[in-house]
Symmetry: C2
Subunit: 315 residues, 2 copies
Amino acid sequence: MTTLHAHVVLLVGGVGGAKLAVGLANVLPPGALSIIVNTGDDFEHLGLHISPDLDTVLYSLSDLANPQTGWGIANDTFHAMEMVGQYGGPTWFRLGDRDLATSLARTSMLREGKSLTEVTRHLATALGIEHAVLPMTDQSVQTRIETGDGCLAFQEYFVRERWQPIAQSIRFEDVENARPSQAVQQALGEATLIIFGPSNPFLSIDPILAIPGIRDTIAGSPVPCIAVSPIIGGQAVKGPAAKLMAELGHDVSSLGIATYYQDLLDGIILDTVDVEMCEEIEKLHIRAIARNILMTTLVEKTELAASLLQCIEEI
Amino acid sequence: MTTLHAHVVLLVGGVGGAKLAVGLANVLPPGALSIIVNTGDDFEHLGLHISPDLDTVLYSLSDLANPQTGWGIANDTFHAMEMVGQYGGPTWFRLGDRDLATSLARTSMLREGKSLTEVTRHLATALGIEHAVLPMTDQSVQTRIETGDGCLAFQEYFVRERWQPIAQSIRFEDVENARPSQAVQQALGEATLIIFGPSNPFLSIDPILAIPGIRDTIAGSPVPCIAVSPIIGGQAVKGPAAKLMAELGHDVSSLGIATYYQDLLDGIILDTVDVEMCEEIEKLHIRAIARNILMTTLVEKTELAASLLQCIEEI
């Protein structure tokens, strides 16, 4: 399996994608997995550079993640945040004390002139992670959600408003000035398999694809590109994927996902509950394979990853 | 007493001065006390603007201070610092989780364009402090210590090297470009009494006096200026005051302090153990009054403050 897939490139956002990253990290040797992570959610807060998706991936791969919340570090304390609240500062974005340290270390290294890619490599190594965790770009790109109530920055939409406003469109500010880092280009160039994690297509995968060059590289790549569906039985496992699909006029299903990525995908892994969709998807010339994709336990994450690598031989 | 001393201005650095500030705050009504605080120790660390002396004064006045260490907040946790350490970041400057929040809030407000004076007023108000806590200036001034081993930034000297290198001279970088804030000018202009707290003369009081205009204003002021000695029986109560006095060629005593500030002082309060120095000091045309100046308890702080205000009538 690992000789067939000498270099797997996984595109992800936060929680869902991070679960698959954990599974793949468990079945692939160091050096055989690169995880390209959305940074469209990154923002400045309390003077710190916060990278929510990078942190979720880092904490998941180092077994620090809080499985209850999907963000932050398990058993973290919130003493700094409580005090920030006493000063009348913003507390809607909850940063635990240990979680805060990640942003402090990141911000400090960025201010010293290191790139986000270099900083992330440093943090990953310090956490004992042996696989490459790559920010999609070293430039600043900000995901903006146009809603009936005006344009919201990502964290305002996602955390402060708990993704309740109706989205009309989504854009990635400054994406035209961004470029994939050398590490991302090299990973895609050496890829023997490209996977879209079960992440939000609009908020997690699209920002990565919007970086000039990335979509074209994947579309033109001779290696298989497969998606793991973020939709199970018409529902998102977590977060606003299903809600956004409906608001933006897509069919809320794995068929909708396959259709949305039609020009890029060779295959899609969907859940066994959606097996009846396979036929319709294959009409799009996308191989559809049904598996248990709800990754609750480490065993399930690892099984899906192993099964996914085996599937490629069918595609 | 409070009608006689309608507006007391206290110049301080960290722990020693903060104790007297607590005493004065206990005996003076809101509006009758302004505390001008050294910011020559301020520095950027982990991307944060840290103001050690301002924090010590704020925490002391709001009863949050850690009496054991002299810095930080009592019963604070250090989870963020431990994690910064795991990332290989600097941990020699110990910031507790709640303490960190003060620097986060400060840095965040400074980045929004607020002045250090405005930020400090905001923090003080949030902590329930009713007296004016004023940074000596809104500009950046950095205390540097020339040692046999080269020039050290203040925190390198004080915290990292635990003030062990031998000091040859001390300078205040960029002080020529600093000016007293309007609040400091107004406080000095309205002062009916000026007090130098029992703070390090070279590291705490001198930086304040070095801000263009402050020394001249105090020298030319018609109101009494008195110092509370930081030296008791030839020893500093805390920190490197005695060591520095010796290294820089001064007599390590309250007489040495009186001599050092000779052109500014009308009086000095020294400890009863040093009462035999009074005669020598009075030859300098400085009134010397012996009191118990080792402020261990709140009662002692308050008694010294009350006694100090009464002394003025003797001067």
